[in-house]
Amino acid sequence: MSDKPKIGIYWCSSCGGCEEAIVDLNETILDVVAAVDIIFWPVAMDFKYEDVENLEDGELLASFINGAIRLSEQEEIVKLLRRKSQLVFAFGSCAVTGGIPGLANMTNREGVFTRVYKEIESNDNPENTVPQVETLVDGKYNLELPEFFNSVYPLDQIIPVDYYIPGCAPSPDTIKDAFTAILEGKLPEKGSVLSPNKSMCDTCLRKETKPDKVEIEKFIRPHQYDKLDDGRCFLEAGIICMGPATRGGCGERCINANMPCRGCYGPPNNVKDQGLRMLSALASIIKPDKEEEIAEVLATLPDLIGPLYMYGLSSSILFHKRIDTGKEQ
């Protein structure tokens, strides 16, 4: 075994897009492999959990973990990787803020199981079987499955995280900068997010067209707007664009494709709750001052959790929808 630094890459509740993003580094990945040994990367190569268990504590220079935590298996493996790694990187929106899987915090395990295993129209499950942690087969074989949690957690609610690489998926530049910083020993203070601490609007190509005071009288969705490509600020048109409450550094990929920002880079440092910050920004651009007229504007915005918490529900202040109602009067 060479004496190159060793790294591990693991996925939890995620779509695989973060692994794609690493492969999308193209030839840069050759420089990475030349500099480090990849010891553990279940998606791309054949490794077993024992390979990690057999390492000394702290033997891995770094682990890159993508995906949110939803299963007991994921919790177990990230705790193992934490022990074996000097540095842990939360890689991608799901690990950083819970990401799209975090939206499942609008329901719980029972809600997910009911929908997925019982209600979905294409299901054929007459016995209403749902996953069990333990199942006795033929009275003698005890089969085990990982436990499915009631909530979805971002990585840093399960283990301490040293650095955050945001994005859905992180842009090639963000990843390259992170790898360069590691290899050259130029990492910033622990706990940092490896992307600029400025809002996306700051580098947005459309900011020139943003008027000094944005005032809107109704909210619309992108498909209701036929001038998406005219280069004007989306908020001015009444389309929710998460730019004001989102960290920059993504390369404005969505804006360049004439779509509003959805907030995947998470909030800047001083913001605790991305959705609430955006809520506040939206409130301040509503034009009318009278309560009835404000209500008319808000009637055009039927859902708030979707647009405001697409990536941040499980790192929001409230974290989870209340499922058991209290005493209702």
Binding site: K272, L276, S280, S316, L318
Partner: protein, 148 residues
């Protein structure tokens, strides 16, 4: 004290220029009002970030009040209009988190309205008592792990 013994915890954010004065007058007038309400003075109701309100709910508040100057009376000209818009957009969000909208109340109390201050605080106390405890820490706790 109610029959169940439940005394709600209510946080009231009051603006320095009107509502805090109103609370002060209520005291000078020796009006009785519930000790369940805890006042937090801010310079302007427009300073109240939705994060403060959600932190209050998460931290154990059963109800949150936002009290500011009457529209047109804001010391900073338009701070309370921003509050009004924020409050109105926050309510449907509370709904989506399944928090009863009545747990958040916005009202205008001027520096001379000691009686109104005591009245709205009393009404809020009654309503939240009726709704019962919110216990947000338990909402989060019961979502973790556990048997299938």
């Amino acid at each position: 004290m109610t029959e169940t013994g439940f005394e709600p915890k209510i946080i009231a954010f009051v603006c320095n220029w009107c509502s805090y004065g109103g609370a002060d007058i209520a005291g000078s007038m020796r009006l009785n009002y519930t000790p369940n309400v805890k006042l937090i003075r801010v310079m302007c109701s427009g300073r109240i970030d939705p994060e403060f309100i959600m932190e209050a709910f998460k931290g154990g508040a059963d109800g949150v009040m936002v009290l500011g100057c009457h529209p047109g009376d804001c010391h900073y000209i338009e701070g309370n209009y921003k509050t009004l818009k924020r409050y109105n957009i926050l309510k449907p969000l509370l709904d989506q988190f399944n928090i009863e909208q009545d747990r958040l109340r916005l009202d205008w109390v001027s520096a001379s309205e000691g009686e109104k201050f005591a009245r709205v605080v009393g009404e809020m106390n009654d309503r939240v008592t009726q709704l019962g405890p919110l216990n947000w820490d338990k909402v989060i706790e019961t979502r973790q792990g556990g048997e299938v």
